[in-house]
């Protein structure tokens, strides 16, 4: 009797919104897989010989796993963290030896007809271990020791997955930056991280000199804006723009120089000059930090371009150029993205209708049931479908963030942030890739993409959080 009541309480304490969103996404994924690889000869969505029939099995199995997780005591998860992490590391090592190579990545175990990808579960292991470590007493996030331990925690699975040649799954570890940010890592690091990534990409698209000018201008602008000194700002802007125009005139029109370097140098010198005046009035180190950061970014921009031009092979260069859109190659490396955009773009506002998509069904889109499953959504359900999916994901992610904040136990809170970060990263990279905003990095769309490993790992990831949330008032270690 008591037991029964407890179970009732359990269900009552489950976050229904997360659960409903999960179910919605999983079933939408299943229908879209059906549409993506629809086969006239096996038109039943339950055909076991087809991916959609198999996906149903994975879904049912995922539900069982989910239910088991909900039944297990919450204390079990932090306890599990260490052994599970160890187990996964062993799996990652052995897959390098016994694994089967699929699409150039040796990241699959094959048992009969079932394939398992340990990298999908490595995320989970890292989440648990990270949460457990960071929730222990007296942990200061910005201490060197802490950072080293966390770094090692990431580095081991990251490098093992990289060795399997599965870059996509390895890059997922970058998403933990968000967790660290929430735990007190200075926002500047996050900002610099983004800035570095953006500048590297931009350096390959534009002349580094332009970017340098951009960096200097932005830095100067920010500096003066933050100091709210309108006079200084005006003087600085006038000095900067006139020096740019002047040096451009001198070097290009009079000296007929082809290089932007002198322009950049003179602009830099002028900017320093504009900075010198406030140095006497203000604290020296603020100015110095700004100057040094700016200078570092400029050097970085040049070195990215230099490395790209001199260190990479032609093939890699082409690939990167195509990814960045500076070289169009609709038959070679750019083919996938182009076809993916065509499929999504051809959906129009309301889509072609269920099973009416031609681009995905007839294989114009590569990997249409796994990494490019979003194309089917776009083609058959149109803009309505794609925005609904994005909105559902957005609600799910924000919900996880806010539910995490409600947790009494730091373990649960940190774990929640881990889940949100990983899902966010997958969502951003996967959809960004299909709509041509990000390079092609093969990672699945959570709950949507075909495949047992990914569905199960995301289910476990999410359900552990749901379970932890049912015990949100309990402190667990």
């Amino acid at each position: 009797m008591r037991n029964h009541k407890k179970e009732e309480n359990l269900f009552a304490r489950i976050d229904k919104l997360i659960l409903v969103l999960y179910l919605l996404l999983v079933f939408m994924g299943w229908f879209n897989i059906y549409a993506a690889v629809y086969n006239e000869e096996h038109h039943s969505i339950f055909s076991i010989s087809q991916q959609y029939g198999k996906q149903l099995i994975w879904i049912i199995a995922a539900f069982f796993i989910g239910i088991i997780i909900l039944i297990v005591d919450t204390k079990f998860f932090p306890m599990l963290a260490n052994p599970f992490y160890g187990f996964i590391i062993i799996l990652l090592l052995s897959v390098l030896v016994f694994g089967r190579e699929v699409n150039g990545a040796r990241s699959w175990f094959e048992i009969g007809s079932v394939r398992i990808q340990p990298a999908e579960f490595a995320k989970l292991a890292t989440c648990l271990l990270l949460s457990k470590y960071l929730s222990s007493f007296n942990i200061k996030i910005m201490k060197l020791k802490t950072l080293s331990i966390i770094g090692l925690m990431f580095l081991i699975p990251f490098s093992l997955i990289l060795l399997q040649n599965d870059t996509g799954s390895a890059l997922v570890y970058a998403s933990f930056v968000l967790v660290l940010y929430r735990l007190g890592m200075p926002g500047m690091i996050l900002f610099f991280g983004f800035a570095t990534a953006a500048i590297s990409v931009l350096s390959l698209i534009l002349e580094p000199a332009y970017i340098s000018i951009g960096i200097i201008s932005v830095a100067a602008l920010l500096y003066f804006l933050l100091r709210k000194d309108v006079k200084q700002l005006t003087i600085g802007l006038i000095a900067l723009s006139s020096s740019l125009v002047l040096s451009w005139l001198v070097f290009f029109k009079i000296l007929h120089q082809e290089s932007y370097f002198p322009v950049f140098i003179s602009a830099f010198l002028v900017t320093i000059g504009v900075f010198i005046a406030p140095i006497y009035k203000n604290r020296l180190n603020h100015v110095l930090i700004t100057l040094l950061t700016t200078f570092a970014f400029v050097i970085f921009s040049f070195s990215v371009a230099y490395l790209f031009d001199n260190m990479l092979g032609e093939h890699q260069k082409t690939r990167i150029n195509v990814l960045l859109g500076t070289e169009s190659d609709t038959r070679g490396a750019g083919y996938n993205v182009n076809q993916s955009k065509i499929a999504i773009g051809s959906g129009g506002f309301s889509g072609k209708g269920f099973l009416e998509g031609t681009q995905t069904k007839f294989n114009f889109v590569p990997e249409q049931s796994t990494d490019f499953i979003f194309c089917t959504v776009g083609e058959e359900w149109g803009f309505v479908g794609t925005s609904v999916v994005l909105i559902l994901f957005a609600i799910l992610l924000v919900r996880i963030v806010f539910v995490s904040e409600k947790q009494k136990s730091p373990f649960s809170r940190i774990y929640g942030y881990c889940v949100a970060s990983i899902l966010f990263f997958h969502l951003a990279i996967n959809i960004g890739m299909t709509i041509g905003l990000l390079p092609v990095i093969g990672i699945p769309l959570p709950f949507f993409s075909y495949g047992g490993s990914s569905l199960w790992s995301f289910t476990v990831l999410l359900f552990i959080f749901i379970k932890l949330d049912t015990d949100r008032d309990r402190i667990i270690h």
């Binding site: 940010y181 929430r182 735990l183 007190g184 955009k341 294989n363 994005l390």
Partner: protein, 607 residues
């Protein structure tokens, strides 16, 4: 709760911002930019045209004279190619290695779409290929039809088809690249009836160009409708015989059934075998024919309108003279070797003098027609020569001369019967006299007719005063032909005036004193004819003859023009009477006579 819990807002904002950016981007590629829609259709939709067979063409005796043979276009989808035995394929297709390599390279540009490697394979090559086609993955055969003309003749009437060019497509949106269109003859003028209606099937194809079923279950598919069969007025055997007789000669023959205006034969020589302009080598042969200095592609019978009618035109003046009341059956004019006014002279051959109207036709007297013609133009009732001239011109044109006849073949030329104003312009207003244009009396000077118009003229005479617009089509399946071909066009000369002229023409062939073509007569057939010999500034005279037979209830009217061949009686007349004999008796009894014509090579007589 810790110091950094506010950061949940920053993180949530990042999530929402990313989703917002993606939704904006999706709105752009899905709703704003429509190019993706087109690219998608281009990717996955394949339209396969169902070409209808062209309508068949029968002759007047329901003999099949144009039909379709299957031809096979070999095409390849580059993306589906697997390594194959190139040597074998080259041997079957009878092409060299570089040709095949080139074509495969071109096909690669299309990658996922069929590209035609070789057009119109013969049935033989196709039979060989079909057996081994399965070894050549990515290759397939598309069946088309090409025209075949079993009698190997009638090229200028039947015409030919070729692939449409951008002009055709611009003019008529029905056509698409790869379609065929009639570009001359019946194939052109009855293109709409013959072509049928194209059908088409839409298919979905996958990334390798493999068909994956019909688009929306075939909702947009259309059946093709085969072209309409056409019954020509041509007697294909007469046509073939005409072409045979004109072999090695330059000239033309037009034969018309007088009662109906139906064209029995229309020959332009040199011509060509219509079958060379079908099939795979069309372009090669077309270029050869185009370069030929004897212009075999040129249809002299309807396109050559600067032929002077010569003495045949005298009958026109004889008819107009009577109608205008300046001569009659019993009008005599004397001729002493020609027509003389002061120092002006039109010569004539030796014959008895004076002659009456019938005899003037029979003996083709120049002087007689100079008199008649001057009397027409100087007729006082019109006051001025130019007025009388325009009256004369109206009469002439009522015989279908000087303007398009309206035949249902493309490219007809109008000929020339100038207006009075033409001479006004040349000589000054009213500064010219009947004597100035006297050569018109004997069919020379500023006058030009097509051989078709001459046949139409003799048709009008055979009918004693009317003609129906000459035409090459009797029927279009069950539909009737254009009613304009059923209307009688009466000449301005009354029927009764034709008898003396016909009597003269009868004597021309059937004998009698001074008959110009007496030696060409055919036993049992009463042929009425008129010779002509047109002066040609560029060389030997043109030999001209026009005739109809029999005299009562004529079955055939014919005009023959042989360029640079001399007297009308020597070549044109025998050819005409042979054709009449062939048409009416179905056999030729005058073997020696026929042999002389068949063996004659008059092309080399040209200077």
């Amino acid at each position: 709760m810790d110091a950094f819990s506010e950061r949940k807002y920053v993180i949530s904002a990042m999530i929402l911002l990313l989703c917002l950016i993606y939704i904006v981007r999706l709105f752009y590629i899905q709703v704003v930019d429509e190019s993706y829609m087109l690219s998608a259709e281009n990717n996955s939709r394949r339209y396969i045209v169902k070409y209808p067979a062209r309508g068949l063409i029968f002759d007047r005796k329901h003999r099949l004279i144009a039909y379709n043979e299957a031809a096979y276009d070999l095409q390849v989808i580059s993306a589906q190619l697997k390594p194959f035995d190139t040597v074998m394929l080259e041997r079957i297709l009878e092409v060299d290695h570089s040709f095949l390599l080139n074509k495969l390279k071109e096909a690669k540009q299309k990658r996922y779409r069929p590209y035609i490697i070789i057009k119109q394979l013969t049935s033989d090559s196709y039979a060989q290929l079909q057996e081994v086609l399965h070894r050549f993955q990515g290759f397939s055969v598309q069946v088309r039809t090409i025209r075949h003309f079993p009698y190997n003749c009638g090229a200028h009437i039947l015409g030919y088809t070729q692939e449409v060019d951008s002009n055709n497509i611009k003019k008529d949106r029905y056509y698409e690249m790869g379609d065929y269109i009639g570009v001359s003859g019946i194939e052109k003028s009855y293109e709409k009836e013959l072509r049928g209606i194209k059908g088409g099937e839409y298919f979905n194809v996958d990334v390798l160009g493999r068909v994956k079923g019909r688009l929306e279950g075939g909702k947009y598919d259309r059946h093709s409708e085969i072209g309409t069969n056409i019954y020509s007025t041509i007697d294909i055997e007469l046509q073939a015989y005409g072409e045979k007789l004109l072999r090695n000669k330059i000239g033309s023959i037009v034969a018309i059934e007088p009662a109906t205006g139906e064209i029995l034969a229309l020959v332009s020589s040199p011509g060509f075998n219509p079958n060379v302009l079908t099939g795979r080598h069309l372009n090669k042969y077309f270029q050869l024919l185009k370069k030929d200095t004897l212009l075999p592609l040129y249809n002299r019978a309807i396109n050559g309108d600067m032929y002077p009618p010569g003495s045949t035109f005298k009958v026109v003046n004889a008819l107009i003279g009577q109608q205008e009341g300046v001569c009659s059956r019993h009008t005599y004019h004397s001729c002493n070797g020609g027509y003389f006014v002061g120092s002006f002279k039109v010569g004539c051959h030796v014959h008895r003098s004076p002659v009456n109207l019938v005899e003037s036709v029979q003996m083709s007297c120049n002087a007689y027609y100079c008199n008649v013609f001057r009397n027409i133009l100087d007729n006082r009732k019109y006051g001025k020569v130019s007025v009388a001239y325009d009256v004369w011109r109206k009469h002439v044109m009522s015989f279908g001369l000087g303007d398009l006849t309206g035949i249902d073949l493309p490219g007809e030329k109008p000929g020339m019967i100038p207006k009075a104003s033409y001479f006004d312009k040349y000589y000054g207003k009213d500064r010219w006299k009947s004597l100035t244009v006297i050569s018109l009396s004997i069919g020379q000077g500023e006058i030009g007719v097509t051989p078709l118009q001459m046949a139409n003229l003799v048709t009008t005479i055979a009918n004693r005063g009317f003609y129906k617009i000459p035409h090459v089509i009797k029927g279009i399946d069950d539909a009737s032909i254009n009613p304009k071909y059923l209307v009688k066009h009466y000449s301005t000369v009354e029927s009764k005036y034709f008898e003396p002229v016909i009597e003269g023409m009868f004597n021309v062939v059937q004998g009698g004193e001074g008959a110009t073509a007496g030696w060409t007569k055919v036993p049992d057939i009463e042929i009425c004819g008129k010779t002509g010999t047109a002066q040609n500034p560029h060389g030997e005279d043109h030999s001209i003859f026009m005739a109809f037979a029999p005299k009562v209830n004529p079955k055939i009217a014919i005009s023959v023009y042989v360029e640079n061949a001399g007297y009308g009686s020597s070549w044109a007349a025998p050819i005409a009477t042979l054709l009449i004999e062939k048409y009416i008796n179905d056999t030729i009894k005058r073997d020696w006579f026929e042999k002389r014509i068949l063996e004659a090579n008059l092309i080399n007589a040209k200077p």
